[in-house]
Amino acid sequence: MSTVRALVGTRKGAFVLTSDGKRKRWNVSGPHFTGWEVYHIKGSPVDPDRLYASQSNSWFGQIIQRSDDGGKSWHQPGTPPGEPTTTPDGMPKGESNKFVYDTSPETGRPLTTHQWIDGTPRPWEFKRVWHLEPSLTDPDTVYAGVEDAALFRSVDGGRTWQELAGLRDCSGSQWMPGAGGMCLHTILLDPSSPGRIFVAISAAGVFRTDNTGKTWRPINRGLHSDHIPDQTAEVGHCVHRIAMHPSRPGVLFMQKHWDVMRSNDAGESWQEVSGNLPTDFGFPIEVHAHEPNTIYVVPIKSDTEHYPPDGKLRVYRSRTGGNEWEALTKGLPQRNCYVNVLRDASAVDSLDPCGVYFGTTGGQVYVSADAGDSWTPIVRDLPAVLSVEVQTLP
């Protein structure tokens, strides 16, 4: 029987939750990296025991961790345990935490400025890794979305990182941080077109490359944001999350700051599909593993009230790719609930029926083993959940 493994990042460490295919009884391992913020953990699709984790805090910066045994043990890939900590010529290793914007004449771009929130220019400054996206084909290749917004890639299992600097060249001087920071938080790899990557940047928008990151362009036509001076600008939209189904990579779904959107042409244009949602503000958006037109969002009351409307935690499901939504409430708290679900804190497994998962800022991780019809908490009292990823294992 298949098993599932949920990788949970929180404000104070990481947890690994495992279960058999019934998804009723769970084993909880952790906290790993205790006391540190773990923004994201994700496994390689081609080697599920290869996990990458982003560990950080404001005091001591960014650490990249890697596991080669499904989360039982971890090491910094620049310094594997048991290996000498220096190179033969005495130089220290530990390069895996080094994220340096590429300003080299050959491949880089001048480290110019982005806009600060008051409109003044500010130089790029690395803060943390928000999201790690392992390659679909190579376990040693992994992408990192970082704050200040940029995309990095490692091709040596996380030991060293190189910026794909063409992205900053694509209107970066106009980008401005949102309330959560100027972060690159979503990376979607197109399985049908290896050179195509979509990324989303908070308060900037969605960008696409068709040549593995050499050149990029904004793909935000159709987005409308009331809170920016030019409401249909080419960049400046606060995209919270985008999602795709691997069988239909030209169709994208987006949870924006306000509005749920859909693109049928790989981001060339977007149409609103908020439909009958009680509010179209939110953070995560997810696609069913087997039904490319079934999507999930968790509506939040507003941009200043980051909690569910009426104190009722409701996941909304659309089986029509948007516009027509149904509330999923069975097993979820329907009174006095004021938690939030952050942008990377939802996931699906690929079992049948599809499992749906989300974690809250209140420390609960919920699972639905029936595609959202009913929910149960796996854990109730973790630190605030920052991210949830789920692996389906044979």
Partner: protein, 98 residues
Amino acid sequence: MIRVVLPTHLQRLAYIEGEVKLEIEGQVTQRSILDALETRFPMLRGTIRDQVTQQRRPLVRFFACGEDFSHEPPAAPLPDAVATGSEAFLVVGAIAGG
């Protein structure tokens, strides 16, 4: 023998228990201590000072002999008591919270 005390977060990261003892040849300065520390524990690179600029991270402070050396030049000599190991060099996470 130089004695260095790291904050708990960094002790865990580098699998250290208690003080770190370092041998340093030549002048004992913030820079020479951090160079030796990072050579022995490369996983600490970037956690105390920036990997490129070598500037102290904003929320990290350096103390020794009851004095704050955070804003002293990295190449300035530290007190003899640190160089002889009678006093530890303290790497401290700035207090934030309440």
